[in-house]
């Protein structure tokens, strides 16, 4: 057993003085959210709960309620996080109910859904929460039975003392156990003893989802609640000049039309305070339809913004950002990207003597890849409930990082941060978009202004045209080959609007004697944000397409070509700062080669392969395309992933399938362009999303089995699919694909 200090997660073990009664429940009855059980399996709720720590409480009847600390957006942590606690607590999963923890900085630290960090960062604290509660139950039993604690064993929620033949269910000992001091250190199970982790468990919310129960942010209801909508500038580079609210205000059901300003003057923004339109107009009324009608009557004048700089206090410290004035267009973006690509960039890494290697090369391959801005298009548009009363605020919003928006709300409202109570209902998708919670700030400000509980709802059009996009990127790769077609040097120069996508220390850095990485960026007033595997979601496609072309030029099998480079990186790495583990990287490729039957391409399909490392995990795909009337049909994707221990395999598989499908959709169709600052797509009649007919007919997901603590899962399978699509399309069409989106023809749907 591993002895581990509980102090690592010390603050996570605070117990409230009163017994918890279901958290700061405002409107939803979270506890009713029992798992996907048959009627008979649902245990009666206990008469009394005993709180063991901030992650769990045990009922007098043995039901255990586990709080899941991070917000849920479809990654299924509401199942997998409690599984981790239940494992160490040693209980029967069918006696578990799951509750969403509210925002509580002291109890739960950073409640962060994003960066594929959830399971990775909570792995230890959740195990400790379960193990320390188990320890307390054992101590209580030892006390009650007057036997040494070491002689007590547990199984499935029952305490046993073999020699005295005593036994007690957890529920019976819970009251005494809750009085025991939380231990300083606890023993964790060995991986091989896991009974819950590593076995597929059904989504605890599935039953509620398929029966349409209220659970999403947009479903929030409260007595007396008004509906609010916003009107933001029609173009990036514009801001509010004046509003004539008379016509809108006179519309039926309308309570008020107010202008709001999201930041107080002098407020120093954090990294997730991105907001292209901090000054907007809000329409508030009784019902959504009435507000929508009034929105059409609103007369607002907008004016151009002046250029400005701002200091952002982000994760990487303080950064100054320059925001230019003007109305930007995709045509001028393209010209600027070409220009920057052709100039020397900022050198980020240089190994060996790349200039010499290129000079001496027998052959140089140079290719440029680009990808457009993308909108997240979560199916649930941005929305937030807020009720501000005096110096207190209640919030319920679909949000990825509550911890980072509370200071912004507090500043905007002029109230202390500790007076803000926040619930995190399920998000109808996030993909990075709901990490930028300006809509929550807006809801709070509107509620304060109109002095009523308010639910702010973005229309799809508001959502798609509000910014926080995946940036537009471009990368030029050059490879030097010697007489024998061996790769002797690699040069990458990458940039974007407004950030560079480059990861200079990722593969194939470390595998090449001569390597040069440069970057550039172009300032913009179009706002960007994290989008499922930020930067990687472009770099993987560019790099993996390029390596495919180089492998071909070298006359090598594309998988073997990568494995040879990885062998070099493992045995004799160049440089000290290589981000990836060459052995794990090679491991997924080997597993993929085996599972995809790589050497046996099925008849009538064209195969592409691609692999990538990001978010501490490794993912690789083989994608089979068949051409049908000139259109690509994805027959099958075989995927291999190394993300360490897989807590809930079927849920992880579902996520990988989603990442693959999402990636194919974005590679085929994803694109947002601009004209004079105006996004050229506003809704799904223009923005083509992947639909069932374009989704893979079959997806197979394989995990590398190991005992490494879990690493990222939601994002890693996404970036490499872009390369697999490009490489399969090449095989299918004979044409290399350099510019996303790859398939532009519009399909008719609806």
């Amino acid at each position: 057993m591993t002895l581990i200090k509980t102090k690592i997660g010390r603050r996570a073990f605070i117990r409230t003085t009163t017994l918890a009664s279901g958290g700061l429940v405002l409107g939803f009855n979270w506890l009713a959210s029992c798992k996907n059980k048959t009627e008979e399996e649902i245990l009666a709720m206990p008469k009394e709960w005993f709180e063991m720590n901030s992650y769990l409480k045990i009922g007098d009847n043995g039901v255990v309620s586990i709080y899941t600390p991070n917000p849920e957006f479809g990654q299924n942590i509401r199942t997998s996080m409690p599984m981790i606690v239940a494992e160490e607590l040693d209980i029967d999963w069918k006696n578990v109910v799951v509750e969403q923890a509210p925002y509580h900085a002291e109890k739960y630290g950073m409640q962060f859904t994003g960066g594929s960090r959830g399971i990775m960062t909570r792995w230890e604290p959740l195990r400790m929460a379960g193990a320390s509660a188990r320890h307390m139950l054992v101590a209580a039993a030892a006390e009650a039975w007057q036997v040494p604690a070491e002689e007590i064993t547990t199984e499935n929620g029952v305490l046993y003392h073999k020699t005295s033949e005593k036994s007690a269910a957890y529920g019976e000992m819970a009251s005494a156990a809750a009085k025991i001091t939380i231990p300083e250190d606890v023993q964790l199970k060995e991986v091989r003893d896991f009974k819950i982790i590593g076995k597929s468990h059904k989504n605890v919310d599935a039953k509620r989802i398929v029966t349409g129960e209220p659970m999403f942010g947009l479903d929030y209801q409260k007595e007396g609640m008004l509906i609010a909508m916003i009107e933001h500038p029609p173009a990036f580079g514009m801001t509010l000049k004046s509003v004539d609210n008379s016509a809108a205000k006179a519309m039926p059901g309308i309570k008020d039309v107010v202008a709001i300003k999201s930041f107080k003057d002098g407020y120093e923004k954090g990294g997730f305070d991105t907001n292209a339109f901090p000054e907007i107009v809000a329409i508030v009324g009784n019902s959504t339809w009435e507000v929508l009608q009034a929105k059409k009557k609103l007369k607002v004048e907008w004016k151009p913004i002046a250029a400005y700089s701002e200091t952002i206090a982000g994760f990487r410290g303080k950064e100054t950002k320059n925001i230019p004035a003007g109305l930007e267009s995709s045509a001028s973006h393209k010209a600027k990207m070409e220009e920057l690509s052709s100039r020397p960039g900022k050198i980020v890494r240089e190994d060996g003597d790349p200039a010499k290697a290129f000079k001496n090369a027998a052959k140089v391959i140079e290719r440029t890849y680009s990808a457009p801005f993308l909108a997240h298009n979560c199916m649930e548009p941005m929305n937030a409930f807020a009720h501000v009363e005096g110096d207190k605020a209640q919030i319920a919003a679909p949000i990825q990082i509550p911890s980072l928006i509370v200071p912004t709300i507090a500043s905007g409202l002029g109230i202390p941060a500790e007076n803000i109570a926040m619930e995190m209902p399920r998000m109808g998708g996030g993909f990075g978009r709901k990490a930028y919670a300006h809509y929550v700030v807006e809801a709070a400000l509107i509620s304060q202004k109109v002095n009523a509980p308010v639910k702010l709802v973005y229309t799809r059009e508001d959502d798609m045209t509000n910014g926080i996009y995946r940036p537009a990127y471009q990368a030029t790769y050059r490879a030097a080959l010697d007489q024998n077609n061996n790769l002797t040097a690699l040069h990458v120069k990458a940039g974007g609007i407004p950030e560079s996508p480059l990861f200079a220390n990722r593969f194939p850095a470390g595998a090449l004697d001569n390597y040069l990485a440069e970057e550039w960026s172009i300032d913009s007033n179009i706002t960007i944000g994290a989008f499922r595997a930020p930067r990687s979601n472009f770099m993987a496609g560019a790099e993996q397409s390029f390596l495919d072309e180089v492998a071909e030029a070298s006359g090598k099998d594309p998988i073997q070509f990568r494995l040879d480079l990885l062998k070099r990186a493992k045995e004799n790495p160049v440089g000290e700062q290589n981000d990836y583990d060459a052995e794990r990287y090679a491991g997924v490729l080997e597993l993929l080669r085996e599972k995809s039957d790589w050497n046996q391409t099925p008849a009538n399909v064209h195969r592409g392969v691609s692999a990538y490392f990001c978010h501490n995990s490794y993912a690789a795909h083989v994608l089979d395309i068949r051409m049908e009337e000139g259109k690509p049909v994805v027959e099958k994707v075989v995927c291999a992933i190394d993300c360490g221990i897989v807590v809930n395999p079927d849920a992880a598989t579902n996520m990988a399938e989603g990442a693959i499908t999402d990636g194919i959709g974005n590679a085929f169709f994803g694109e947002l362009t601009f004209k004079d600052g105006v996004p050229q797509k506003t809704n799904f009649h223009q923005y083509q999303m992947i639909r069932m007919s374009d989704a893979p007919k079959e997806i197979e997901v394989h995990f590398v089995a190991n005992e490494i603590a879990p690493t990222g899962m939601g994002e890693p399978p996404f970036p490499p699919i872009f390369g697999a699509v490009a490489n399969a399309l090449y095989k299918a069409t004979g044409q290399r694909h350099y510019r996303q989106p790859f398939v532009t023809e519009k399909q008719i749907v609806g």
């Binding site: 039953k207 398929v210 479903d219 339809w289 009435e290 109808g428 799809r460 639909r691 989704a695």
Partner: protein, 154 residues
């Protein structure tokens, strides 16, 4: 303003509102049945799918004034206890990720199976293509539709 008597999930409901109000908002704001989702408002995503006399329709484009005495079924009324064959298949396959699109997917799928109890893959794709799943659960949805078809035919 006008008043309407609607037949929703087998219950008569009185509403008094703007006759142009789409059923989506009647359900969500007035009847407080929020299982039917808003995704686009222009009949492009399928999140708002309900049954009108058993046929799948996009409620965001369906003014309340056009309903008359037709029967409306929403996800909440699809079955007594989540035990419609389509819902059961969804649970068996554990289809949802975020879950937001799934009510609409289930309503479209259940209407399809009523009309065509044995759909081919292409027929499933054609029927389901109006429903976007941003999380990309399409392969599971298709599997679940087939399971539901088989279980209903068994």
């Amino acid at each position: 303003m006008a008043s309407f008597t609607l037949n929703i999930n087998g219950t008569k409901q009185e509403v008094d509102l703007d006759p142009t109000t789409p059923m989506l908002w009647v359900l969500r704001d007035h009847i407080k049945l929020v299982g039917t989702k808003y995704g686009c408002g222009i009949a492009q995503c399928g999140a708002c799918t309900i049954h009108l006399d058993g046929n799948a329709v996009r409620s965001c484009q369906l003014p309340v004034s056009s309903i008359g005495d037709k029967e409306i079924t929403t996800i909440e009324g699809l079955s007594e206890n989540g035990n419609h064959p389509v819902q059961k298949a969804w649970l068996e396959i554990d289809v949802p990720q975020c879950g937001y699109c799934q009510a609409g997917q289930i309503m479209t799928a259940s209407a399809l199976l009523k009309q065509n109890p044995n759909p081919s893959d292409t027929e499933i794709e054609t029927a389901m293509n109006g429903n976007i799943c941003r999380c990309g659960t399409y392969t599971r949805i298709k599997k679940a539709v087939k399971i539901a078809a088989n279980s209903a035919n068994a």
